[in-house]
Symmetry: none
Subunit: 204 residues, 4 copies
DNA sequence: AATGAATGAGCGTTCATTCAT
DNA sequence: CATGAATGAACGCTCATTCAT
């Protein structure tokens, strides 16, 4: 699977991803990333050209990996009814965003991202919206659904809801069994909530 | 309602809010804020103790003002049917978040906020969730609704969806008439979408 | 005497001048200058904006001080014969360049100076060339001289010769009494040599 | 004449010379030189030990090549009258310095050269001064000249004047026909001026 | 109460050099 | 013999903050 990143670059990006997800782009220093990655402070400039360019690489890195998973996910949809497909789609997106949430919250805020980076993310959203359209249309044809809400609205609601739950853990965890692992429990809850939400919009 | 902020402090916070909403906490320097506010660079440390503490004050400042609006908003609900109340609530939250979205996306990301700040924001969410509960219960009693979805889930979906649309303007604006003002057009669209979404969850 | 530099700025420039005269612009670090000046490392950026801009200030600083001396020097020429005036001029330029030689060797080499800086130095040269023209013309009118060599050539020879002697001390000091102070002895020698040279060009 | 430089070393030195002449020692990076020379960045350390030592080699390299030209030049003097010899000498030195001026301006400035490097350059000056002495003595014996100015002073004036004109092109080019090639026009002018200057010092 | 000059720490980056291959 | 990946040190600069006034 060709990505254009060497092992060392991938290693640095993985470490950087975790830190930046936690503390943001400006809140994470090059020294911090390199120290955590066990490499010399000069390596980020050496490998990526600059911290900014490393960030652009990080986006590309993540999108590439996400789109790889997409194939597996879309294969899974084959032969299922639109209702089942929608359930699978919600489960996939909840699982994915919980893993890489930070990734969907940067653009336009905190990070004056370049056009290239914004495009990288849009690529993902458009790809995803296209799948939603396909399922919605199939469901309306088969009679599973009787409404055609806009794909971009469904997408906004799904991703937005998940990110809110992640970012406002402090608030949301009060409604979750405190003995349970937050992310595992939250994943299940959001999946169910969003599934219900989607069907509420598709069948009226 | 006692706020504890002098006029000068309020002025600085207002200026800071706008800049930070645009460029993030780390992306906005103390010099920049003070320069834009027309005050001495030492004033932030002087008035608030530090940039971090100013940020905490900013949260408190915003929550206080929001809660002030709440009274007007809750007054508006009086004597309406639960269905109408829910419509008003959606309209209020969409309008509010569009104005102060930055404010709901910081916590846990980009900013290692203190417990105090997190509490400040939770105060708002809890207050809001309480209103949702009240409307949902009233609607179930009156027969307007026949379901009792969790208030925190409805909240997450409402706020999350709005923030997504704001942060991913690049993506979402493709689905909006390009001649229209983005925020005005988006506000209307999201309001309708979320209203439909809420009713889809309350009546099944 | 208004120069536009505060005492602190003047202090830093004086220290910087000495170090840069010795080791060049790129060879002298900001830390080194600040350390020698007993000020914080941030002061150069703080006072001048950047190291580059400090260098531009240094040129201006030196030219201003040189042009101040000029008035005193030109006053001294009044009422003298052209022959005496030429002797005074040589003595002045030798003395001045020996003090600030570094200053005349930077432009176009080692430092990609801005147009502004180059202009600063040219200002000095042009001012000086004008005086030479005046003396040469007066001398030809009075009969002291019988030739009109180009002022820019006389200037080039005077300044060039002096700088050579400074820069190639290693070579030149072999011809100077080793018990004497190099600069004092060199000053006298060059003054005599250049005086002879000038008269050799003015009377043939 | 044994130089001790391999072809690769000579190639690197030639490239380095051009760059350093333009931007100075500190202003030219090892990467830049190696990149321009089409060799690996490690080669300068590998071949010369360090950047500093490469610089010492560069001086030696240039002096060796200059001294090689000297034989041809001194041969040319044979059988000429001292007056003609002096003209040839001025023409040679002007031409040479215009080509390798940078080379004569480094020592003691911008570069803390080692004793070895300084010696390398002195070797050249002493050799040159010896020739001047010979011509001056011959001219005084033949009656071409009637003065014996110090060779080191003549040398300082010649080299200094030329370097000034090169370094202060900005100033000097105003006095040169702007349609002409600067270096070609300057060479002719300086040659004539220095020839006149030398004869002015040798015949009084 | 408020200033603005000044600070030390840390920033992202580039440097000449080293070393395993 | 030659490479190029990798390094530690130092670079110029900006940061939030302090302190004498």
């Amino acid at each position: 699977m060709k990505t254009g990143f060497t092992d060392k670059q991938a290693h640095i990006l993985t470490v950087a991803e975790e830190l930046i997800a936690d503390k943001g782009f400006h809140g994470t220093s090059v020294r911090e990333i390199c120290s955590a990655a066990g490499v010399n402070v000069a390596m980020i400039s050496y490998y990526f050209g600059s911290k900014e360019k490393m960030m652009a690489s990080l986006y590309r890195f993540r999108v590439e990996r996400t789109l790889e998973n997409f194939s597996a996910f879309t294969d899974e949809l084959d032969g299922k009814t639109p209702t089942e497909q929608m359930k699978i789609l919600v489960a996939f997106i909840v699982n994915h965003i919980l893993k890489f949430s930070y990734f969907h919250g940067f653009v336009t805020q905190e990070w004056q991202s370049t056009a290239e980076v914004k495009d990288t993310l849009q690529e993902f959203y458009k790809e995803f919206a296209a799948i939603i359209v396909r399922i919605v249309d199939a469901g309306n044809a088969s009679g599973d659904f009787n409404c055609k809400p806009a794909a971009e609205d469904l997408l906004a609601t799904m991703i937005g809801t998940i990110i809110f739950v992640i970012r406002n853990r402090n608030f949301y965890e009060k409604y979750i069994d405190e003995d349970a692992d937050y992310f595992a429990a939250a994943e299940e809850r959001i999946r169910e909530h969003l599934t219900t939400t989607m069907f509420g919009l598709l069948r009226r």
